[in-house]
């Protein structure tokens, strides 16, 4: 059997990890080791203080019930309503349904009818609802950091702008990618109202080289829409398209659509990933090669040469040269691509225009333009122009810019040399929070939250979607469109601006014959409208653009700056849910860190948690080291988006007790900001540099890693014959027809347990397709929002006390330098023969007649016996009173789920509140429950659609079909607890690491 391991320590099997497997929690300093009898004291104290308890039994406090003054038609208190909208967590523009209860938004769900995201929503999208209820959001405009009134600020800014207009001085507006037609029109109007103004687009995760390469090869500055669902062979050079690259939800959805091993015949794209660090995408790859960023361009060049030869195109523009990838591998890769002409896709995430041109050339040779790459209806999800940004910074440094307006970006923290912004005489930030740029701005005119304002987006040409407010503005903020329109001389409200744009730009492109009013109503209801894409002036591929690349000399250490799926850019640094979300691969929370390959760490004599100083180009940063299997030996990877001013708020996060370690680093922030290591080179923001020096500072910084928490492995001395358990199971595509489910427990007749659960009605169960799961962790945050799960802070995470009901276990297998990865969502398995139930002394956890393992908070006295006896480590204990008296932040709490108090055990309930609600609603409508009507929060959010919930007693339910799949198994089936959660085995392409055929 294959051996799985979760960390390097486990692989090596040191004494610490063995001890960790034996004791679930870190030893507490409060343990009484000597002195009088603790039990005796507690008994006596119980008698002595019983009276105090009894005297508390009095009439409950008086509560007011305040109804609406006027009934709103069609609104019932206590009923949830859903409004279609669009996510604004990043420019990808996924479809949303905003769930509101009694006038307040409480949850964001994916809109299943949205053609891009198809119901999926990533962790960032799920967590972005917290932004609305953020008490530290700016409540009114600021002038030089002091609170001011809107009319004053407007008048002063207008006066200054008038002076600038008269003097014909330069005004610049720096925005992130704007996919919104309305905001684009407003910005255009703003720019045109000045004699000398320019609009510059800057993305923290820039795709500028892709746009520029298409300018060279196709004569238009466009970003193609990538269609992973149509690709049978995918080759990705350093593009983390399932994690952070351009539109991860859309790509995960379409990638998953192209990998359906249960379809007949099985459909399974072949995915090769060539990357420097272990990304989410790399963890799903069928083949993975480790290349440092400097090696990638040459590999693309050699691959292009080989593909050119095989497709009969000219191959004299470059010479064969040895590169980081062996000739045999290159030939094999070229052969595979050529065999799938028109059905393959090469993507490149490297910020290097030359490499991108060759990537385009590869796709051109393979005939992928028009099939897997859409340039007729291109994407607008990244429009950043790094050349223009670099020019802007020079202009500012030269004192040529009189006024700079920055809506939605934080250049001071995101850009190298962003400090020059301090020299702008009139700097106006539209940031909703006091970020680095806003705190030096002359004026801050806070933008409203997306849930408070009207908006729109056309993320992909032809797919226009609307954003509608779900609540009135909570403070004196104003949508950025209104603010900019006002400064350009207009007075319109955001609603009118959006409607005008749709009347002028979107409705004429609609394919139906309905008038504007009907079109608007339908679009507003659906949240999205499919219209004709705008004409793009794409020219045929220009072969002249293809040029050989100058080889880069080999370097010792390369610094790679990347984005994490949890905090893709610093905009989300305020969000505690995202800060505490374990990274899908490293499983680290509350920090960024320097990722090193284990062999590199050994060479540099650095251990995990050692603080290392990174120095490059005159900048330095101290970060803790983290050992990352599967990383290139010469690469040190550091996440961007950390060390932000907004993370200073987490100084008091988590329970404040005596032995608490701080959640913040030395500088009082979460992590360190690495953006000063970025630089502009060849007109592109470079995310890597080779002049890195790494030194050990001798300091230590503990990292809150969850990878060894809640481990299911058994210590050897407890299970002498066992060893590794078949927790993750995998199969090979070629073997799929031969797989037989091991049904030992399914049909076992001898059973010591009484058959007291007949399950005559429904029997709820969940199935997870491990082959589809990418580990993106959207489900973790979805569960957290739905079930009022608290944030506990870094120290508690270090003590194994994170509260996530649903965790993603990440397993490595094989060679630690180039391991294979499997992701396994693990939650309460709702066992039929639940080991937790038999040990609860107060019957706080019992079985329901529908197969649920119920947890009754008000009955629980907190013995924690159940958690000790849970084989899946799926139970979470409230060590402290995590609920806070924060009236604003508490508005996000789901009123249908109890807020647990201290001393109570909690766990996944299969979203029983949703089950109950759907059952009652079906009864009300006098009909049977429909399959698929109940979706758990994790299932709803999953972009890969890897989770199915349903009735196991209904043979036609989708769940039953998954449960009958030949790939289905149950974790720890051998201990006969009979989980209600089925897992579908990971499907690997032909090669596995058995026999050591892995590459790396």
């Amino acid at each position: 059997m294959m051996t799985y391991w979760k960390s390097i320590e486990e692989f090596e099997g040191g004494p610490e990890i063995r001890a960790r497997a034996e004791t679930e929690f870190e030893d507490t300093p409060l343990r009484i080791t000597a002195g009088p009898d603790r039990r005796g004291f507690l008994k006596a104290a119980g008698f002595a203080f019983a009276g105090a308890t009894l005297s508390g039994c009095r009439q409950a406090p008086v509560e007011k019930a305040i109804p609406l003054l006027r009934q709103v038609e069609g609104m019932s208190p206590g009923r949830p309503y859903y409004y279609a909208s669009t996510c604004s967590g990043c420019p990808a523009g996924c479809g949303l349904l905003t769930k509101t209860r009694d006038g307040r938004p409480i949850k964001l769900e994916g809109n299943a009818e949205h053609p891009l995201s198809r119901g999926g929503l990533c962790a960032v999208g799920q967590a972005s609802i917290l932004s609305l209820y953020d008490g530290l959001r700016l409540k009114q405009p600021l002038r030089h950091g002091k609170e001011a009134r809107w009319d004053e600020v407007d008048a002063e800014i207008a006066a200054q702008f008038d002076r600038i207009r008269k003097e014909k001085r330069a005004v610049r507006i720096l925005t992130a990618t704007i996919a919104s037609p309305t905001l684009n029109a407003v910005v255009r109007g703003f720019v045109q109202s000045f004699p000398n103004a320019q609009h510059i687009v800057c993305d923290p995760q820039s795709a500028s080289p892709i746009l520029e390469s298409h300018q060279l090869t196709h004569g238009a500055r466009i970003l193609p829409r990538y269609r992973f669902d149509k690709a049978e062979v995918i080759v990705s050079f350093d593009a983390d398209f399932l994690g952070t690259w351009i539109s991860p939800v859309e790509f995960t959805q379409s990638y998953s659509a192209g990998r359906q091993p249960d379809a007949k015949p099985p459909r399974m794209s072949h995915h090769t990933q060539l990357e420097s660090r272990m990304s989410v995408t790399g963890s799903k790859a069928d083949r993975r090669y480790r290349l440092s960023p400097g090696e990638v361009p040459q590999v693309i060049e050699q691959l292009a040469l080989r593909v050119a030869r095989r497709t009969g195109a000219a191959a004299d523009w470059a010479k064969d040269a040895p590169v980081a990838l062996a000739t045999k591998e290159l030939d094999e890769l070229a052969e595979r691509l050529v065999s799938a002409r028109g059905r393959s896709l090469v993507v490149c995430g490297l910020a290097d225009t030359g490499a991108q041109v060759l990537c385009n050339y590869l796709n051109h040779l393979l005939g992928n333009y028009g099939t897997t790459l859409d340039v007729e209806a291109p994407s607008r999800q990244r429009q950043g122009d790094d050349r223009a940004v670099a020019r802007l910074l020079e202009e500012i440094a030269g004192g040529k810019v009189a006024a700079l307006v920055v809506p939605g970006v934080n250049p001071l923290a995101d850009l190298p040399g962003g400090d020059v912004l301090r020299r702008v005489p009139l700097l106006v930030s539209l940031s909703p929070r006091l970020d680095e740029t806003a705190s030096v701005a002359t004026y801050v005119c806070p933008d409203s939250d997306p849930l408070e304002s009207w908006g729109d987006t056309e993320a992909v040409s032809g797919i226009a979607s609307l954003m509608q407010p779900a609540v009135q503005t909570l403070a004196q903020t104003r949508p950025a469109v209104e603010t900019l329109a006002r400064w350009a001389g207009g007075q319109s409200a955001a609603y009118d601006l959006v409607r005008t744009t749709w009347k002028r730009e979107i409705h004429p492109r609609s394919t139906g014959k309905e008038d504007f009013e009907a079109f608007w109503r339908k679009s507003l209801h659906d949240g999205v409208a499919a219209v004709r894409p705008q004409n793009t002036a794409v020219k045929p591929f220009d072969v002249k653009a293809v040029r050989p690349l100058t080889p880069t000399p080999a370097q010792d250490l390369t610094l790679v700056l990347y984005s994490k799926p949890s905090i893709p850019d610093g905009r989300h640094a305020y969000n505690p849910w995202l800060q505490e979300l374990p990274d899908p691969v490293s499983k680290c929370t509350w920090d960024n860190y320097a990722c090193l390959a284990p062999s590199t760490a050994e060479r540099l004599k650095v251990k995990e948690g050692d603080v290392v100083r990174l120095e490059a180009g005159g900048h330095s940063l101290e970060l803790p080291a983290l050992l990352q299997p599967g990383q290139h030996e010469k690469v040190i990877a550091v996440a961007l988006g950390y060390g932000r001013k907004e993370s200073a708020r987490f100084a008091g996060v988590g329970p404040g007790w005596l032995f608490r370690r701080p959640s913040l680093g030395e500088k009082g922030l979460v992590g360190g900001n690495a953006s000063s290591f970025l630089r502009f080179e060849d007109g592109a923001l470079r995310y890597w540099r080779s002049d890195l020096r790494l030194t050990d500072t001798g300091k230590l910084h503990p990292l809150a890693l969850t990878q060894n928490h809640h481990t299911l492995s058994v210590p050897k001395h407890l299970d002498p014959g066992g060893g590794s358990r078949p927790i993750v199971q995998e199969t090979r595509l070629v073997e799929l027809s031969n797989v037989r489910r091991e049904t030992a427990a399914d049909k076992s007749e001898e059973d010591l347990w009484p058959r007291d659960h007949p399950f005559t009605g429904h029997r709820w169960a969940l199935a997870v397709d491990l082959s589809a799961c990418t580990g993106c962790s959207a489900c973790v945050v979805a569960c957290q929002v739905e079930n009022n799960i608290p944030v506990v802070g870094k120290d508690e995470v270090i003590r194994n006390r994170e509260m996530h009901w649903l965790r993603l276990d990440r397993y490595y297998s094989g060679d630690p330098t180039a391991p294979q990865v499997a992701h396994q969502p693990m939650m309460c398995q709702q066992c039929e023969h639940a080991s937790c139930e038999t040990v609860c002394p107060v019957l706080a956890t019992v079985h329901s007649e529908e197969g649920l393992n119920q947890q009754i908070y008000n009955r629980c006295v907190g013995t924690r016996y159940c958690a000790n006896n849970c084989a899946f480590k799926a139970r979470r204990f409230n060590w402290f009173e995590y609920a806070r008296e924060d009236r604003l932040a508490n508005l996000v709490l789901n009123p249908d789920v109890t807020v647990r108090s201290r001393g109570v055990m909690e766990k996944c309930t299969f979203c029983v509140q949703r089950i109950q609600d759907a059952k009652i609603e079906a009864k009300r409508e006098r009909r049977a429950l429909r399959d698929g009507e109940i979706q758990t929060a994790c299932q709803q959010s999953c972009p890969a659609q890897a989770i199915v919930f349903g009735d196991w007693n209904d043979p036609n339910s989708r769940l039953s079909k998954w449960m009958n799949s030949l790939r289905r198994y149950r974790v720890l089936e051998e201990i006969n607890v009979r989980p209600s959660v089925g897992y579908l085995k990971v499907v690997r392409q032909g090669e596995t690491n058995e026999g050591g055929s892995r590459h790396g």
Binding site: A50, L68, S848, D896, T898, Q916, R924
Partner: protein, 217 residues
Amino acid sequence: MNPRITFVVLATGLLFSSWGLVTRVGAFRLPGNQQGYSPVQPIAYSHRLHAGELQIDCQYCHFNASSSRHAGIPPASICMNCHRLVTTSFGVFRAEDELAIQENRKPRTLISAEIRKIYDALGLDDERKPAATKQPAPIAWTRVHRLPAFVYFDHRAHVNAGVVCQTCHGPVETMERMRQFSDLTMGWCVNCHREVNRSGVEGKRVYASVDCSTCHF
């Protein structure tokens, strides 16, 4: 710990807690049991008059009961469906009418003090027209029926199963001021759930689950 200190701590605890118990014994109540609670409300609304004498259906005002988990307290705009015209009690109205005939004049609009509170809440003047000087403000009723935060009761399920309101709320149509009739304890809930599984509701067979997660989640 020193046994003497332990003794002092425990003895003080005993004293302190006995004192607490003795002084509050009059107000003693089992936790969660508020049976008989009948607070004074901001408007002296009479269920006896409306539901008893006038026989207005419960769900005319508490229209949410069949569609939402909360039956809901009616918004003031529901009151106005009748009280747009009915400004005072019938007796006062008729007396003024007779007086007006005697004095040979048009009857005056008399508004009772309690009904005026509805107009005040909605910001209306005596002619029931929006008054510029009055700021609308919702009526803050004192909640009578209250379940602990870890219990989820759903009116929808019960009303649609045919359970009449009086089963839990008692003879509301006889109550001048609203009173909590049942003790609303878990035993009381579960007994009824068990009972209806045997006897049905209004002769109709029903199934009321006694699983914990029926109410606790």
